[in-house]
C-alpha cells in the first residue's frame, strides 16, 4: 500500500488540474466539470487520511461531500439550462448581467 504522501501528491495534482479547468474554460458546463475534479481530489485526501490514520470520520465526511456535490451539480445544471433558455449562451464571458 503506497504511503500517505503519494495519495496527497496525486490529489494535489488532480486539484490543480481542476483549478486549471475552472480558470481556462469559458463554457459554464466546462467550469462545472473542473469543480468536479477539484472535489474529487478533496475526497481522495479525506479517504486517504481516514484510512491511514485509522479514523472512520474521514470516510463519513467523504460521503457527505459526495452527496452534497451531487446536489450542487443538479442545481448548477438546472441554472445552466435556465441561463441557456434566457440568454441563448452559456459562455461565462458573455454572462455579465450583474456587472456594475
Amino acid at each position: 500500500m503506497p504511503g500517505l504522501f503519494a495519495y496527497l501528491v496525486v490529489a494535489a495534482l488532480l486539484f490543480v488540474i481542476g483549478v486549471f479547468g475552472v480558470l481556462t474554460r469559458r463554457n459554464a458546463v466546462g467550469i462545472l466539470l473542473g469543480i468536479e475534479l477539484m472535489l474529487n481530489a478533496v475526497n481522495i485526501n479525506l479517504v486517504a487520511f481516514a484510512r491511514l490514520h485509522g479514523d472512520p470520520v474521514g470516510l463519513l465526511f467523504a460521503m457527505f461531500t459526495i452527496a452534497i456535490t451531487v446536489a450542487e451539480v443538479a442545481v448548477g445544471l438546472a441554472i445552466v439550462i435556465v441561463i441557456f433558455r434566457v440568454r441563448r449562451t452559456i459562455d461565462a464571458d458573455r454572462l455579465d448581467l450583474l456587472r456594475g
Binding site: 500500500m1 503506497p2 504511503g3 500517505l4 504522501f5 503519494a6 496527497l8 496525486v10 494535489a12 495534482l13 488532480l14 486539484f15 490543480v16 488540474i17 481542476g18 483549478v19 486549471f20 479547468g21 480558470l23 481556462t24 474554460r25 469559458r26 463554457n27 458546463v29 466546462g30 466539470l33 468536479e36 475534479l37 474529487n40 481522495i44 479517504v47 484510512r51 491511514l52 490514520h53 485509522g54 472512520p56 470520520v57 470516510l59 463519513l60 467523504a62 460521503m63 457527505f64 459526495i66 452527496a67 452534497i68 456535490t69 451531487v70 446536489a71 450542487e72 451539480v73 443538479a74 442545481v75 445544471l77 438546472a78 445552466v80 439550462i81 435556465v82 441557456f84 433558455r85 441563448r88
Partner: protein, 163 residues
C-alpha cells in the same frame, strides 16, 4: 516495488491523464466521457484505500448520476441551439502559471510539514464503522443531508421547469 504500489501508480496515471483530457478537449461531450473515466479511476483509488463501499457510491452517484446529468444538460442545450457545442479555452498560460504555483505551494507545504506520522491503517472493512457512525453520533447530520437533497431536487425542478 510491490504489486499494490505499481497498481496504484498505474491508476494514478490514468486518473491524471483523463483529468487533463477533461480540461483540454475542445469537444464538451468528449470532456464528459473523460470525466467518467476520471471518476471511475478515483473510485479505484478508493479501492486501493480499502473502502469498497465508497467505490460503490462513487460509481453509482458520480459515474452514474453526475455523468448522465451532464450529458442530458449538453443534449438539451444543443437541441435548443441546434448546433454542436465546442468550447474554447483562453488564458491557458495564465491558468497554467496559477495552477503550477498552487501545486508548488501545496507540495511545498507537505514537504515543509516534516515527516508524516506513521501510518496506522484501519483493520478490515470500514463499512461497518461508517454505518455505525451514520446511525449513531452522526444521525442528525445524516438526516439533514436528506433534507438538503430534497431541497436541491425541488430547486432544480423549479429552475428547469417549462413555462
Amino acid at each position: 516495488m510491490t504489486g499494490p504500489v505499481v497498481g496504484f501508480w498505474a491508476v494514478a496515471v490514468v486518473l491524471l491523464a483523463s483529468s487533463v483530457a477533461v480540461v483540454l478537449t475542445p469537444n464538451l461531450f468528449h470532456s464528459v466521457l473523460f470525466l467518467a473515466v476520471s471518476l471511475v479511476a478515483t473510485g479505484l483509488v478508493f479501492l486501493f484505500l480499502h473502502s469498497p463501499f465508497l467505490f460503490g457510491v462513487q460509481l453509482l452517484l458520480y459515474a452514474g448520476g453526475v455523468v448522465v446529468l451532464v450529458v442530458f444538460a449538453i443534449m438539451l442545450t444543443e437541441r435548443i441551439v441546434g448546433q454542436r457545442i465546442t468550447q474554447s479555452s483562453h488564458g491557458m498560460i495564465n491558468g497554467a502559471i496559477v495552477s503550477a504555483a498552487l501545486f508548488v505551494g501545496i507540495v511545498g507545504f507537505l514537504v515543509q510539514a516534516g515527516p508524516m506520522p506513521p501510518d496506522r491503517p484501519m483493520a478490515g472493512d470500514a463499512t461497518v464503522a461508517l454505518a455505525q457512525a451514520f446511525l449513531g453520533p452522526y444521525g442528525v447530520p445524516f438526516q439533514l443531508l436528506g433534507v438538503l437533497l430534497v431541497a436541491a431536487l425541488l430547486g432544480a425542478l423549479y429552475f428547469a421547469r417549462e413555462d
